[in-house]
Symmetry: D2
Subunit: 296 residues, 4 copies
């Protein structure tokens, strides 16, 4: 039994795939004939249901990837390759609270909602109303969003949350919102950013150097597809060469917190802060105490 | 208050980071002095605690990424960049059941356990006992694994689960276990594979072409780090150039299920199956019915 | 003075560029008016000449790159990024003799002809007559080829040259022509190959392992373009992800030449040959005796 | 007969390769015994000569690639992958004159010298005397340089040549020397630049936008090696991820040359220049009039 409201994928005998919502009374009129919603609802995932013309159609559950790819977009959407790595680096998962701005078309929001689940929390901010509507539409369409707060808000005025576990900014000038971001998360929280140009990356790095941030990383992720043909195996001719630079860092005290307990002169303190920032950068994100492997 | 048993990261004023478990009575003897476990336990994440020499140390929660990088490894571990994409493509998440073999050092197992959470389920199989012990050790060390079954088992004899949502094989000859895999999952389940050489990819593709699989994709993911220095921004000199090829596909009926309802001659059926497989490949993984964007 | 017969580039005030041959009496009828051949012939490279409508047009010499990009193609042409590396690895240059098959559309032939110059020699073979005609047309069009021999020939019957400095094969099954190739070059010659699929690369490697070859290298070259805009600097969205695998090796005696002077039993000799091939592979192409730098 | 003074590669039965100069009376003392220079001089390239212990050694000519890799370096050397593409884009070849600064260790100089040959000309400038000495040493070592002028000179004071065909700058602040560069080349000449950081690329682009330059391209070239083993074919684990950004452009009149013949107001002229620069950028480097293929 597939509940009404579920997002399903219909696979025709010719291998075509259609992502559709199963709605009571809304039959699917395809080139292969009419597929009755009532018939689909009585089947199980993976089953074959027939159109009124007798054409067999397999009914699959829409995967997370199907949902991400099916989102309506008016903005540049974050690619699944980037979304996946962002979710891992931010530690999205059951019980976690992740903040983001802007939500854009809601691509990352969808994945965060999926991974955080009913016990987690996603707090999303978007200043442009049309994107907010689009993101809401997309979350509903994707069958997620029960754990998502969508705020119509300029984050210059602050985020609508405190003590979050992680924060992601997909905005043009993220360096302008670092203070607001710090106020939204708990100490030690992970920060993530997506930026298309190196000029922006440079400006963000300058901003991060001034703040209580460490373990700063900049990377780009490339996904190269291969033609899946056994005896002519080779990469695809063309690929997406750039989506954006990913920047990750962690809220980390430099000198302020230390000063309370270890009074020093202003000059020493500044040197300390600079030294710590520099060392943190040189040392990379973490000294691995349990294993000896090379960094991934 | 940080509970005993928690995995924490100690950050020294020089920016060094140490991933440690907080255990009652087990103080951390560092170059900066002794950090008393009792002091740490009374602090909150992000707080600064002092060693007996007065050196301030910030106490952070270990992120998922910290945990993955800290795993002890005797096998080649799957890299976070690959783990992230695998988890997204398999749709790991709360309430989901994911099967895998072999578990190796438990890197993917750790991430699957994290994303699936208490309401999800990870069923892992490993034929070599020493890896099983290592994976168990690593899951415990990483503070996850409550939702993981670890089976000491040769998957040639079948998996210890049925009706799973997705399956991942990180074994040398995955094409030998496709039937067992199909028996372990529900119809329409996602399959994932990691293979280091193109020869293996070719053999797997031949195996998948014979079975009820569609939407076959082969890709590789490259992570390129940049030096996070604002005014000298440039990629790192060296990078990891290869970890493995990722192969994804989905259980999908070709002809068998169709035959029951749409009797045809053997020859026609074979042609159908071949045509469907070919079309599925040409058409790519999904026809996007809600949006017009280019595939990620 | 620009001689008639020269390949020139006309640049219009709107920045459009047209690669044209300057032929006596053949004026260029453009959207910007008629540019008289006689006017161009009296100018120097870089000068501005006016159309009959008074529109200024700058006249540039066609670069090697302009010529490569302007070739007519009926086959997949080798890309400049690959051509450049092939020419360097084969040591094309004044006074050198390079053999190739097939010539296809003549892309590599054009560059080899350019680099080897009047004192060098390019001996090209092509089994399909229509490609031979195309290559000849393209060489003439590009204003090179004076040092090129084009042979209409199946290389299964041998190459039309001996003692060449280097050989390049851009054919479907290069492993079938290794003996013929060896007969065409001098001892120690460089060999190069371009192959689109990994299956072919594997077969070629098997062939090379049987023959007197060493310093075998397989690589791929990726060219990633960036948008040349100062304040929005970023990679292009898409790129060519695959053109072909390049394989290089060098004729090098394994055991045969050694046997004459150092008689051994058959078994020992085979072991020697295998060991040498293996060591050569492990040791890489060259032990650098003059410098300490890392390999490029 | 191999002339004394030649750079040769000795290949031992164990597959080790040593690049050495053959000098009269200077025998090679290897682990395999003494190889007498007189014996080598009487052999031909590719022949096997024996050490005094009877160990056979094959004698090969050093390839251009061997020479580039064998250069002594005190500076970051340009990689062969970049050198190859630079030489092609600048149109190095017999009869051509190419200018460069700084020469650094002489890597690019060596290749330019090789490709331009006795009828060509390489004019190299270097402000630091120790690099000049090193480059001279390396050119001699590599057996090239007969067509090279090495100038100890600060290019701020201008280049020692006019009317060159192409110019390459491998200096920290190339945007400061564009005027001097323009004075050194003929109209329409190709310019090339190598820069390690994106910040420098941005500054150079700003400089180029102000000058008579068009067809501006920025790219990076990646070379990914594969393990040359037939049945375990796979990319190498690690690769060089960054050497530098390559920038190419061409001297091209914007408005100055046009003004003489087509008088306009200052404002119109500025608009023209800006429009041309913009269009040139949008239109890419060349409109291909002979062929229809996609750009490489």
């Amino acid at each position: 039994m597939i509940p009404y409201g579920t997002l399903v994928v219909y696979v025709t005998p010719r291998g075509r795939r259609y992502v559709k919502r199963l709605v009571a009374g809304q039959d699917w009129h395809s080139n292969e004939g009419i597929l009755y919603a009532a018939d689909v609802a009585q089947a199980d995932f993976g089953a074959v249901v027939h159109t009124h013309q007798g054409v067999p159609v397999q009914v699959l559950e829409a995967t997370l990837h199907d949902r991400l790819k099916g989102l309506k977009r008016q903005t540049q959407i974050i690619y699944p390759k980037d979304i996946a790595y962002i979710c891992l680096r931010l530690g999205a998962g059951p019980g976690r609270t992740v903040v983001e701005a802007g939500c854009g078309s809601g691509g990352l929001t969808t994945a965060l909602s999926w991974f955080c689940g009913p016990t987690g929390h996603v707090v999303s901010h978007e200043v442009r109303e049309e994107f907010l509507h689009l993101a809401r539409h997309n979350l509903e369409w994707a069958g997620v969003g029960g754990n998502v707060e969508l705020h119509h808000r300029d984050i210059a005025e602050g985020f609508c949350v405190t003590n979050a576990d992680a924060l992601f900014l997909d905005v043009r000038t993220p360096w302008e919102y670092l203070e607001q971001g710090l106020a939204a998360v708990r100490p030690g929280a992970m920060f993530g950013f997506l930026l298309p140009t190196v000029d922006q990356v440079g400006k963000l790095l300058l901003g991060l150097e001034r703040g209580p941030f460490a373990a700063i990383e900049v990377c780009e992720i490339l996904l190269r597809r291969w033609k899946p043909v056994a005896d002519r195996l080779r990469p695809e001719d063309r690929m997406t060469a750039h989506t954006g630079f990913l920047i990750f860092c962690r809220q980390q005290e430099h000198s302020a917190a230390f000063d309370a307990h270890q009074p020093k002169g202003t000059r020493e303190r500044k040197q300390d802060a600079a030294r710590m920032a520099r060392l943190a950068q040189e040392n990379g994100p973490v000294q691995d105490c349990n294993a000896e492997g090379e960094e991934a």
